[in-house]
């Protein structure tokens, strides 16, 4: 409790509060704009945070992450266009509610459900993190290596598209992380004689290229369409659900919160999976499943809550173990590392103001988002009127600034453009690039753990299956990697459905 109060003291400093506001505000805008995801935005802003103090930087970047979940709801309800993939399920019943004249209630239920779930999620993070950190402190290098391997395998298992390709991307992410000086002996590796690469490939050119530049190239190929927007309510009272809607929301919000948080903890689980699972659970539990897809309140309240608590849940493995659960938290881990901070079990003791500051900022950020979202819906929707012609040069200029400022090197700009083109091609052929970033960020810690473990055991690989914990993680890894070689026979996954709904919405 003391730590949390200290965190609030950090957040309520004017400058930190401003960065928290900038983060959640940007997150909302990014959530509204289709095509510009939180990954792209965090990647673009990452280098700009170099000059900021670490607490403010992480608070701002985290604000973007959880702010996106709110913003994505607005376009899903009013336009049937998910601003980002985790808002896809909201399109199904949220938009139908809006068509029936309940747009305000849909936005209100989503915002309140998101606030409740986000806040409970943060409370859970505050209470779960200390015991988990104490447990992780007992890990040796072999345990760490196996946790990371199992985490990477889980991410590839849950990825959309071919799991084999996901594994390949994980391999390439690890390989890209190995470029530059060897972390233990400082010998240059995989540099192909290029001096600039002896320092390694920086996160900024890689992330900005793979997500920022490749997204611009993709955006250009989309047809320009005028989007139709259903009118949001003009007064705050218009956002209030009626008694029946409020009663029907309580259970789904509670279930979505718990489910989302648990799924958020799992590497690769992510908000998309949480929303689809919550939707499936609510439909299963409902006495009127036939109403789902036609404006069922439960189909909106559950997934929206799961989305937000899942985002909070993803912070637990990041802060307590230094293991990101998805590509966005991998970028946040990168941000920590750039500022010389290694998140993990000792962060709570070594940098309590940072740890608790980030957690407290999530409470404050959730309140900001609730206050921002309802009254300003009309204004946010207007952002969609910004044409691509204006958006693209701004993104490219920010890419240039973000990439160059990392090392003051034009070579990084070349690398970013190369990664942008390669990223576009890889995405076109069904490769999931989020895994590249995740593996790249984990690569250095993973290699260090593997080599330390091998040095301890004098090369005996048995160290990786020498304790119940390592055996458990080894079994998980083996099963998940084995499944990558089995052709998928299941129904299309969440992200496949995301594409389908997005395509349907654009046709409509």
């Amino acid at each position: 409790m003391e730590g949390l109060l200290g965190g609030f003291a950090t957040v309520f400093q004017p400058a930190t509060l401003m960065y928290c506001f900038i983060g959640v505000f940007l997150g909302t805008i990014v959530g509204i704009l289709p095509g510009l995801g939180p990954l792209t935005t965090i990647a673009l802003l990452l280098p700009i945070t170099y000059k900021m103090d670490v607490t403010s930087a992480i608070i701002m970047l985290s604000g973007i992450y959880y702010g996106v979940a709110y913003g994505g709801t607005i376009t899903s309800v009013l336009m049937r266009i998910p601003g980002e993939a985790s808002s896809v399920v909201t399109c199904l019943d949220g938009y139908e509610m809006a068509r029936k004249g309940r747009a305000g209630a849909a936005l209100g239920i989503a915002a309140i459900g998101s606030f409740v779930a986000g806040t409970i999620g943060v409370v859970a993070v505050s209470y779960l993190s200390p015991p988990l950190s104490r447990w992780v402190l007992a890990f040796g290098p072999a345990e760490y290596a196996m946790v990371m391997l199992a985490g990477l395998s889980l991410v590839t298992y849950f990825s959309s598209g071919s799991r084999l390709k996901a594994l390949l991307m994980a391999g390439f992410g690890l390989l890209l992380g190995a470029v530059g000086s060897d972390p233990l002996a400082a010998a240059p590796r995989l540099t192909f004689g290029i001096f600039h690469l002896t320092g390694g490939i920086d996160l900024a050119p890689l992330a900005i290229g793979l997500f920022g530049i490749s997204e611009v190239l993709s955006m250009v190929l989309r047809k320009k369409e005028k989007m139709q927007v259903l009118a949001p309510p003009s007064s705050l009272l218009g956002f209030m659900p009626n008694r029946e809607e409020a009663r029907r929301s309580v259970g789904p919000v509670a279930r979505g919160t718990v489910l989302g948080f648990i799924v958020g903890l799992i590497p690769g689980g992510g908000a998309v999976l949480a929303t689809f699972l919550s939707y499936a659970v609510e439909k299963k539990l409902s006495k009127h499943p036939e109403q789902f897809g036609k404006g069922a309140v439960e189909g909106l309240a559950g997934p929206e809550s799961a989305n937000n608590s899942g985002t909070a849940g993803a912070f637990v493995p990041l802060l307590c173990m230094g293991v990101p659960a998805n590509a966005i938290t991998a970028l946040l881990l990168g941000a920590f590392m750039i500022h010389g901070v290694a998140p993990g079990p000792t962060i709570m003791e070594r940098q309590p103001e940072l740890f608790w500051g980030v957690i407290a900022s999530m409470y404050v950020g959730n309140v900001m988002l609730l206050v921002l979202n309802l009254p300003l819906v009309g204004l946010f929707v207007k952002i969609l009127d910004v044409p691509r012609a204006w958006l693209a040069p701004i993104i490219l200029t920010v890419c240039l600034i973000g990439v160059y400022s990392t090392n003051s090197a034009a070579m990084d700009v070349l690398l970013a453009v190369m990664f942008g083109v390669i990223g576009y091609i890889l995405r076109r052929y069904g490769y999931d690039l989020g895994i590249v970033i995740l593996a790249y960020v984990l690569g250095v810690i993973f290699e260090r753990s593997v080599r330390q473990a091998l040095a301890i055991s004098d090369g005996d690989l048995g160290i990786f299956v020498s304790s119940p914990l390592t055996i458990t993680f080894a079994v998980i890894t083996a099963v998940l990697v084995g499944l990558a070689f089995v052709p998928r026979k299941r129904a299309p996954g969440p992200a496949d459905a995301a594409i389908a709904v997005a395509e349907v919405s654009q046709v409509k």
Partner: protein, 172 residues
């Protein structure tokens, strides 16, 4: 065996992994105090080569682009109309200018050139609107990032001249 774009991509990944493996073989796998710098990249590159070969062998179709947790599916070049393709090519040119400009011309000129290429030539925005937007973006970049946030930007003659102007006006 016909070579689709998907297969060319897998082949490209195989070649990249093979090149990395070849580079890594020059480093020692084991030293006096444990694993050497070459062990880890050799193992990872070998796994990548094997996986790329598997993808190459198994990827027969033309897979749909995937949407990840965080962004939507990429738009396909092969399905785009002639107008979108032309725009795409001009954007590629803008990327070339972005790289060359950051090397040779500095931030202001590069930013102006990229904005003009994308807005005027790719998107067909009027010259007036293009030039005003280009000037605003370049100016905002210099003032917000270079001046206020102290972020380093590529330097060219225009940037140096602008800074001299600011210094003359007592602003620096």
């Amino acid at each position: 065996m016909t070579f689709s774009g998907a297969r060319w991509t897998a082949l490209g990944l195989f070649c990249a992994a093979a090149a990395a493996f070849w580079q890594a073989t020059k480093l020692s796998r084991w030293g006096f105090d444990g694993p050497g710098p070459g062990l880890y990249p050799q193992v990872i590159a070998a796994i990548c080569m094997a996986l790329a070969l598997l993808v190459l062998a198994l990827d027969r179709g033309d897979p749909a682009p995937v949407a990840t947790d965080d962004d939507e599916a990429v738009a396909r070049y092969d399905l785009a109309g002639p107008q979108e393709r032309r725009t795409f090519h001009i954007y590629l040119l803008a990327l070339v200018v972005l790289v060359a400009g950051s090397w040779l011309a500095g931030f202001i000129v590069t930013s102006l050139a990229v904005t003009i290429i994308t807005m005027r030539f790719a998107e067909g925005v009027s010259w007036r609107a293009t030039l005003i937007t280009a000037a605003i973006i370049a100016l905002a970049g210099v003032i917000v990032f270079s001046w206020l946030l102290q972020v380093s930007l590529p330097e060219g003659p225009a940037d140096l001249a602008f800074r001299a102007l600011l210094r003359q006006g007592g602003l620096l």
